[in-house]
Symmetry: C2
Subunit: 335 residues, 2 copies
């Protein structure tokens, strides 16, 4: 086991439900400096676990463990932190409560403050749903977070993005082996269907047109669909996916207590210096949504990744995109 | 019954299979002139039937039945022409053979020539898969077709479009009630999943962002997903959808006999004068694919529909887009 568990006890969620004996799985990289001024928080994404974030960490990179103390908290529902798959009855499986980005970040804040005694965070950074948590950090704890770098994500899940996820969910739930969440074995037909639905959304039209998957070592389009996409989702637990999907669909910093669902006001309350980085060809987090956000953020810059990798421009598999992200992270951290 | 059936007898398909007692359902509008020079052919789209095309026909419109003799042939697999749902055993249901755009157009050509004695076609026009048939007409019968107007479609199904359709197919087939095509009742869970998968693709991000569905009379996003999208697909037969989906996924005028899969050569063999009209925000037939095609077509103009309606800019529900299409059709017919 390469990670630690922070025990949170009973946590009342935004919905009113209580997550009992809640656990946050996390991993840290580097050392906390004496003045605790070198902290980076780097939340995970839809179904990703802490090690899936490591491509952006390394010596000489912006997220350099020689310089920074980097904390990767695993998102609730991702199978390592409290999730349908690892919570004991009666809140297990299909009964796992709905959790929001606000809930996730509230628990992460306890890890950071109670466990490490940290008072300032130099940077929060995250991809996709990790970006959703990044915005949430800046809204929930505006005086604590100095910089944010959300990439390929949004502060509020757009209606189109919501609809895309309805398709993902419906494909999974069409499999009768899902049994409304009380399956004995994973509903693999549904998970494979999710994979094929997701495949068209994850990468751009141009990515497929130019057959980048061949350069990536897949032998054909079908091989890419099976080896990459089906392989990706077959490793996941269906209820975990549905829990995180609910979090994603309901993402909206405007729902942070105190803002009365006023999205623009919540954006305006962000004090952190920000670089907001969409993928230029991202089909479900298109740059237009971030463009709107940045207009309301006091100290933010929009900088799209000029890439045909779609959402996966932020996935770490393309060195050119990774360098673009890393360069901007260095710039933000130096400011 | 507002349509007629043309009996084709036994038809050998491109795959080598024989479609026995093949039937083409069609409807005509207006009168054939004495010199038979006023013919327009207007094929149908994925799951559409002839009456679904009628929004583009009318007095004072380009497709004016006072001036033109308009033939709408129903695509094979659409439930009216030979389809899994209406073919007797042994070629019924899951055994219905694969048909290509080439096969469809070959049968339509027999209708036009054998039944009506027509030698020249002033215009072939079609939306989406109807555009696929339009290109095919121009390649299969270059000396017969004077003008083509494919809108929101392509001459070759792109790899990304293929992947989108893999998602649609997988969502349907995840429903065990589908029973590999031998269902006793329609697999409605799968059809509803298809609807939700399709919803994100059919309209653009901006269409949802601006909540155009509310202006269209739906009371909420969920109401749009159920009333429009699920309603749309619940009326369809699953095997019919899969037959047409195969036709779509395998669309490629380069596979017309004589071209040896040389797509660019097939485009170059088109003699018809063409306006090619993508939807500017179409997510599965993006303008870039048509832009490539037009470079190889001797007599073609690219003219995107400036609309946020995505693929459905060509669906007839938005009067502004319909006028844009109709105006260009008038221009093409006058030339």
């Amino acid at each position: 086991m390469d990670y630690k568990i922070f025990e949170l006890g009973n946590c009342v969620l935004q919905s009113g439900a209580t997550l009992r004996d809640a656990k946050l799985a996390y991993k840290t990289y580097g050392n906390l400096s004496a003045d605790k001024s070198n902290v980076i928080v780097y939340p995970t994404w839809y179904s990703g676990q802490h090690y899936d974030n490591e491509w952006l960490i390394g010596e000489g990179m912006a997220l350099d463990p020689e310089k920074y103390f980097i904390i990767i908290p695993n998102m609730l529902g991702n199978g390592l932190s409290s999730s349908p798959s690892n919570t004991p009855p009666p809140y297990d499986r299909a009964r796992f409560p709905n959790v929001t980005f606000y809930d996730n970040v509230k628990l992460q804040h306890r890890l950071v403050t109670e466990n490490f005694g940290i008072e300032k965070i130099a940077l929060v950074v995250g991809w996709s749903m990790g970006a959703g948590q990044t915005y949430q950090w800046a809204v929930s704890y505006p005086d604590m977070v100095e910089r944010i770098f959300p990439f390929c994500g949004s502060a509020k899940t757009s209606l189109h993005n919501f609809v895309f996820l309805e398709g993902v969910k419906a494909a999974l739930q069409a499999d009768s082996a899902w049994e409304a969440g009380w399956y004995k074995e994973q509903p693999t037909k549904g998970l494979r269907a999710v994979a094929r639905v997701y495949a068209g959304w994850g990468f751009s039209q141009a990515f497929y047109r130019e057959k980048i998957y061949i350069q990536q070592g897949y032998s054909s389009l079908e091989d890419f669909l099976v080896a990459f996409w089906e392989g990706f989702f077959l490793r996941r637990d269906a209820n975990n996916l549905l829990t995180m999907l609910w979090t994603w669909q309901n993402g909206d910093i405007g729902k942070t207590p105190g803002f009365g669902s006023n999205f623009e006001q919540a954006l305006g309350a962000i004090k952190a210096k920000a670089i907001v980085m969409p993928g230029q060809t991202d089909l479900y987090f298109p740059p237009e949504d971030n463009e709107y956000e940045v207009k309301y953020m006091p100290n933010a810059l929009l900088r799209p990744i000029p890439s045909i990798w779609g959402h996966f421009a932020g996935g770490g598999a393309n060195p050119v995109d990774t360098k673009f992200i890393d360069d901007s992270l260095k710039e933000l951290l130096a400011s």
